[in-house]
Amino acid sequence: MWANPITLWRKGILGMNCRNVAYIGRYNPRARYPLVDDKLLTKTVVRKAGVTAPELLLVIRTQNEIEHIEQVLAKFTQFVIKPARGSGGKGILVIVGHDGDKLVKSSGSQLSLADLKRHLSNIISGLYSLGGRTDVAFVEALVTTDSTFEHISYEGVPDIRLIVFKGYPVMGMLRLATKESDGKANLHQGAVGVGLDIATGRSIAAVQFNRPIHRHPDTGHRLSNIEVPHWRQLLSLAARCYEVTRLGYLGADIVLDVTRGPLLLELNARPGLTIQVANDRGLLPRLRHVESLDELQHFTVDERVDYSIEHFAHSIGALQPSLWDAEDVVDAATSD
């Protein structure tokens, strides 16, 4: 029921406090947070760096614009409404079609126009934003999931979370929506996390609510033999985000569109820790490994991706830190 902290440390499990102080605090300059906290800003910035993202359809900045939103939205049948500063997937509304006056959510339940307007109004009032600041709602095109995931996910779009440390993808996880998560790929809402081998994109282990599982709870699909296509392309997309944001410890959420390939959904400056459970590996050895590298050793995105594929493969168990290394990590975490 309870883990022994020394064993966890030896396995290189990154804890919340250590993440906050030694990684987020040290490698993520505060001034660059707005870049990732505002999804709309992220979209516009990464596009310049050649990072692909879902198409932006509409931006709603004032309550007035909500008044006649149905006229504007009429030309889109499938779309996603997001708050620019929402956190933890809150306030995201996925519309998959129309049913008369009503809109159909990804879960199949219906939404009246009044509900939709209230939702938009809430977003702009800042209900979903950190600190309750007034926000902006935006509408983007619904991603059509790659056929690989067709039978795996219950509903909603599966996405791939990659932890990028100083530009090196160090750990990856596929997130599958469940009935419980209401079509959202958010782990704490009950989505399934499937650990992915950084070298190959193949699934390693899966968790729901921090507990290991073998099959998808709703679809019953086996989770052990998934292989994410376009894996290398996906890795370099994530690695490229470091160039744009200069955030050292970054979580990149990527979806695979059937036609456009990997698309960046959003970036996260405080990515969660459950990815370790899904991978059955601790993050610390890999983070420590990257920290030991010379800054200029791998200059380009491709070089870094190659390095990650070579060194952070799941099969490489030798990277488990000895007690020696662990002490070094303690030292590095507390000093500087």
Binding site: M1, W2, A3, N4, P5, T7, L8, W9, K11, I13, G15, M16, N17, C18, V21, A22, G25, R26, Q63, K90, A114, K117, R118, S121, N122, S125, G126, L127, G132, H188, Q189, V207, N210, R211, P212, L273, Q276, V277, D280, G282, V330, A333, T334, S335, D336
Partner: protein
């Protein structure tokens, strides 16, 4: 981020300043570290009587000062119509009453409160000079004869004094002694003989502290100097080893009371003792003389009471930091639990928890109706504030009607915080379901109750208010926790599944 060295230095510095200052104030101003410490207070009332016949009057009374075993915590006078001033010269304090035309019997009071000093500061006095004595014949010869006879039988000042007392009190008297005693009072003679023997000595007037005594007068004693300090002698009985029940009222001045312009003056003393909390002694002293002017005690009482609560806030903040960084509890709103705990301090725990849950649950019901009204956020929160106010008034009135006084304390809850709590809980319910509401709600309540239990300790309340500098230590602990990179208690559970495969 800063280097580890300077950071630790800062932390240690804060601890050192906090603990050092607290210890300093404990020693110097006798502020007790523990609540409820009691001390014995001696209340001495000096009553002065005299007759006036229309002349201007000045009454001058020698006053005791802080000394070896006793410390003055309070003093005042009752003397209607008199001008009053306390003056000090040659280390002796004097009270001076004055009035223009005085007729009939007059009564003046001087009251002083003293406590036994647990750690007296024994200053090193310089060696006093030997008083010069000039006696007329035949007394000079007689005195010299006594000295000449006694000095060879003594080893030092103390034994000399002992021998002199023996010489003067042995019956029948030696004829030199008899001659001198015929002319001089015993204490005067004693100190003169000591002076003639080249021993520094002085006459003092002392009061014997005995509970419940009235109409006491001062006792004439003699102090003899040896080895850097004064030793007290009773000219009749010899060395007084235990001076703990003696209060030196005055040293080496002509008389205790001088009334100029009045007649038939008398002075008498009344003594009572009582026990009082040390703290009130320390603080009453603080309003007086040697207090730190920058202390919370100097504020008006009402503000002091406010600060008694405010000073508990850092303790609550510490509890939140511990429970969040070390345990990893989730709360709704970071410091909301502290504010709730602060309200609990005034409502008491059980009524507080009940009314908190009642307000939030009722609020959630009403909020669920509000969400169908499609309101803007600010308007919705404002509505909730009004709802909270309404719930509070209804609960207060109802509980008062039912005779439950405890229900009235509900007003101590911060209303805006409650409104926001309801709003957050409601959103949480819609977004993450009732389970998460229960998790965060009970987490918040747990933190609030823990914070309350810590803040409600008499020791915590006492230290937080009387030693505000100890908050620097709290700050240091919080800073250290801010750099804690170890696992949280709940993470050990979260990652427990990762223990199996090795």
């Amino acid at each position: 981020m800063t280097q580890r060295g300077p950071f630790l230095f800062l932390v240690l510095l804060l601890v050192a300043i906090g603990v050092g200052s607290a210890t300093f104030r404990h020693i110097n101003f006798n502020i007790p570290f523990l609540p409820g410490t009691q001390e014995t207070v001696w209340q001495i009332e000096a009553k002065i009587n005299f007759w006036g016949d229309g002349e201007p009057v000045q009454a001058i009374l020698s006053l005791p000062s802080n000394q070896g075993d006793y410390r003055i915590v309070n003093e005042n006078t009752v003397s209607s119509g008199y001008g009053f001033v306390i003056e000090e010269s040659d280390g002796q304090r004097r009270a001076r009453w004055s009035k223009r035309a005085v007729t009939g019997e007059q009564t003046l009071y001087y009251k002083v409160e003293l406590v036994a000093d647990s750690n007296p500061l024994r200053g090193s006095e310089p060696e006093p000079a030997v008083a010069s004595v000039r006696l007329d014949e035949p007394y000079a010869t007689a005195a010299q004869a006594i000295v000449n006879a006694v000095v060879p039988r003594s080893a030092d000042a103390l034994t000399l004094a002992q021998q002199l007392i023996r010489e003067m009190t042995v019956v029948p008297h030696d004829q030199n002694v008899a001659l001198l005693l015929d002319r001089f009072a015993l204490p005067d003679l004693f100190s003169d003989l000591l002076a003639l023997s080249n021993v520094p000595a002085r006459r003092v007037e002392a009061l014997i502290l005995e509970e419940g005594r009235r109409r006491q007068s001062l006792v004439e004693l003699v102090q003899v100097w040896q080895d850097g300090e004064w030793h007290l002698f009773n000219p009749l009985t010899g060395l007084i080893a235990d001076t703990s029940d003696l209060l030196l009222w005055q040293t080496d001045t002509p008389s205790v009371l001088d009334v100029i312009g009045g007649k038939r003056s008398r002075i008498s003393f009344a003594i009572i003792s009582q026990t009082r909390p040390s703290l009130s002694l320390a603080t009453s002293g603080a309003q007086g003389m040697d207090a730190p002017s920058l202390s919370l005690y100097s504020l008006p009482v009402e503000e002091q009471n406010m600060f008694k609560l405010i000073m508990l806030l850092p303790i609550g903040a510490l509890v939140v930091v511990v429970l969040r960084t070390l345990v990893g509890l989730k709360t709704s709103g970071t410091f909301m639990p502290v504010l709730i705990a602060l309200a609990f301090l005034q409502t008491q725990l059980i009524p507080g928890v009940i009314s908190f849950i009642a307000v939030v649950v009722v609020g959630l019901f009403i909020r669920s109706y509000l969400s169908t009204l499609n309101l803007l956020l600010v308007a919705r929160i404002a509505t909730l504030v009004i709802v909270v106010v309404a719930i509070m008034s209804i609960v207060s009135v109802m509980s008062y009607r039912l005779g439950l006084e405890a229900g009235l304390t509900i007003t101590f809850f911060p209303m805006i915080i409650l409104a926001w709590t309801i709003e957050r809980m409601s959103i949480l319910w819609e977004e993450d379901g009732p389970k998460e509401v229960l998790v965060q709600g009970s987490g918040s309540l747990f933190v609030a109750v823990t914070a309350f239990l810590v803040m409600d300790q008499p020791l915590t309340r006492h230290l937080a208010f009387n030693f505000p500098e100890l908050h620097l230590v709290v700050l240091a602990v919080i800073l250290l926790l801010g750099r804690y990179t170890g696992y949280r208690l709940l993470e050990l559970r979260r990652f427990s599944t990762m223990m199996g495969s090795d």
